[in-house]
Point group: C2
């Protein structure tokens, strides 16, 4: 057993070293590729700066490719102990009790990389071709197919453990069967798009991703530390192998995307990040814990719903509003939506939603009409909400505030996972 732990540590050391190399490669590659992307016309305008610079877009692509190559080269590492001089042996040489070569685990790694790479390809296609939302909402489901298929062929667990309070009625576990695959698809779609919609200011996409990645890494370490259950250790090692290089390339990208951004990350990166999280959550069997790390994203999505589903008018852009002060500094204000501009009056349901948000302290009302109805309020995004509380902020500070929210979300997640959970499971 001691030998076995040592070996795990060796794989982990290789993973950490590869993460460092991936970070260095990302830092080195992005400046060199800037002009290539600009020449190819893959650019975007940084509209929150006074001089509105043109920056290269989709810089998540080189980061993702570096990550994928890193993972390609990492594939054999966890299985290195099976390799003898003349190829591999079916039975572990030093520890015959470990059984035969774990091809199912190799299959999991391959399907995980395949799903991530599918998402990178579709994300890049989206960045270049500007696919409509009605189509691209399904991209993660397509990219997730290989993952679910291999999950199925690998004796996929499809039951959930029932909370204590419901056990008298439902029993200890509930077999979800096909519904479990629907659940996983929903998880993949949620993770992928929720990062993509909490976006728009320098450093926020890569920043939130880095916080979530570090949270997953910390959670994995907590599981692995002094855990006698080999299966549990293995799935969290699996998660670490994917998360460490991912944190590396994300950090490299954040370095250039941080205020004032020199590059944009593109949908490619958001999709890539979301799928990587979904993959480790599903194959690591900690999807519920993973969702806890997405609390700010989940909140942002729910908070956006009244506008996304058009109960409340939704302008084309909901980015914060930029103002240049007399001393030359630039600050951001929350942007607002005017509900009486449109000929179509706001729906009753929309007014009720806004009223509830107001009562919860989640809405800044700017203007009411004679009958006391809300006619101007902040746009319903987490970014604007933070600005309603923190007043006008420079862009860099706004990113920091949002990343602080993300860190607090992760702390809450750990509290729920390691303390409150006792009362439920």
């Amino acid at each position: 057993m001691f030998q076995h732990v040592i070996w795990h540590h060796e794989s982990l050391m290789v993973s950490i070293a590869m993460a460092a190399i991936a970070l260095a490669l990302t830092i080195g590659a992005i400046p060199k590729l800037r002009s290539t992307f600009i020449q190819a016309g893959i650019t975007g305008t940084d509209i929150l700066k006074p001089h509105r610079p043109i920056l290269p877009e989709t810089m998540g692509l080189p980061a993702a490719i570096i990550y994928l190559i890193t993972m390609f080269l990492f594939i054999p590492i966890p299985f290195i102990e099976w390799f003898g001089g003349a190829g591999i042996s079916l039975v572990h040489e030093e520890h015959p009790s470990l059984g035969t070569f774990p091809y199912h685990r190799l299959g999991e790694i391959l399907s995980a990389i395949l799903a991530i790479q599918s998402m990178v390809l579709l994300g890049f296609a989206d960045d270049i071709l500007d696919v409509r939302w009605r189509y691209k909402i399904w991209f993660p489901a397509i990219a997730g197919i290989p993952l679910l298929v291999v999950y199925y062929t690998s004796f996929g667990v499809t039951f959930i453990v029932v909370p204590l309070q419901l056990r008298p009625w439902l029993g200890d576990i509930v077999q979800l069967g096909a519904l479990y695959y629907v659940y996983m698809l929903c998880l993949i779609i949620f993770c992928t798009h929720s990062i993509n919609i909490l976006a728009g200011i320098n450093g926020i996409e890569a920043g939130q991703t880095l916080v979530i990645a570090l949270s997953v890494i910390l959670n994995d370490c907590l599981y692995i530390h002094n855990n006698p259950d080999r299966t549990s250790v293995e799935v969290h090692l699996f998660s670490l192998y994917f998360m460490l290089p991912f944190a590396g390339v994300t950090l490299g990208l954040l370095y250039y995307n941080w205020f004032p951004a020199k590059v944009f990350v593109g949908d490619t990166f958001c999709y890539f990040a979301g799928m990587t999280f979904a993959v480790v959550g599903i194959l690591g069997h900690f999807s519920k814990t993973l969702v806890l790390f997405f609390i700010p994203q989940a909140f942002n999505f729910l908070y956006s719903c009244p506008q996304v589903f058009r109960f409340v008018e939704c302008p084309r852009h909901r980015m914060p509003r930029q103002q240049t002060l007399e001393d030359g500094r630039t600050v951001l204000h929350f942007s607002t939506v005017k509900l009486d501009d449109n000929k179509k009056a706001i729906s009753k349901l929309g007014q009720i939603m806004l009223y509830i948000l107001k009562c919860l302290g989640l809405l800044k009302v700017v203007r009411k009409d004679d009958q006391g109805r809300i006619v101007e309020c902040n746009n319903l995004t987490l970014i604007n909400l933070v600005l309603t509380y923190t007043g006008p902020l420079p862009e860099r500070n706004l990113t920091c505030a949002l990343l602080l929210v993300q860190v607090l979300g992760s702390l809450l997640a750990f509290y729920i996972r390691y303390h409150l959970v006792k009362y439920v499971y």
Copy 2:
């Protein structure tokens, strides 16, 4: 055994049905995506037409994505007999002699799809970013990593059978070890780029690909028919599973790329096609036979070498020259290279190469100087060579002539493989 054959036929029927669906989807999708690609600026000019129309480029991307989704959905099919009511069983229910679930074969399929998808991603990046040759020459090697890694973990065979004539000196087989991986990398690079350089007229990329794919399919069928060796049947079924849907999407693409082309296929398609061939050749253990199907591509590459490696002046474009006749028809002439334009005189070695080609009947000399040296001749590509023999041809007929060369190459390949081989192995 009889049952087993039936089951194989069922998988094959599913594969044929999926190939038909993939063909239909490709035929349906490409016209719908034309405007999306044109809007995104992914276009090229068809310079061999009098009015030089702008056509959407990189239409190999939707074809490749349809292929990849087809393969994702096909992954579980060959293993369907292992699936019971409650997930899969490790041991085959009806035929326990078949042993445990073939995870290594699942791993092969996953790594094959991963390699193909990597090539599609890099090909698309090349089409968009216009990567330099010195970098992109290595793209197939990067995309091939997962394939070689899984080949290694799957007890990869690394010996070659020695030709009869050499056996007294080398023995029956030679263990190549690491060199075998170098050989596979070279095969991947050759297959991928050789299709990409026999290109430039309507229908030639997809057309040659279709001929090669049908040759591989025919070869697989010859192997499977009445073959008692189960392993051999399995690897050729594996090849069919990849080739049939591939032939489907290629035919769909050819339909729109045929003269007069409505779309271009892009480097994406050539890379995708080359990698798909390399993958089935390597995992199906028929890489030598596969190379035989690339005779015209290999000839085109060798024939191009004097210009590619600059022993002979190489103009930027070596496409045929277009001429509009008095009756309005357009024909293509072979294009020529002028060797006295350049201040730098042609090298001695270059003159020798041209002289040898001339003696072999592989060079059309247009002009000589006073000392009898060649100063103008056809550009060294198979397309121009065919034109020197067939005179000016309409573009459609030129494509047909080149596809005829490809078909003759395949017939020669079959003759070598099934007749001449007796004298060597």
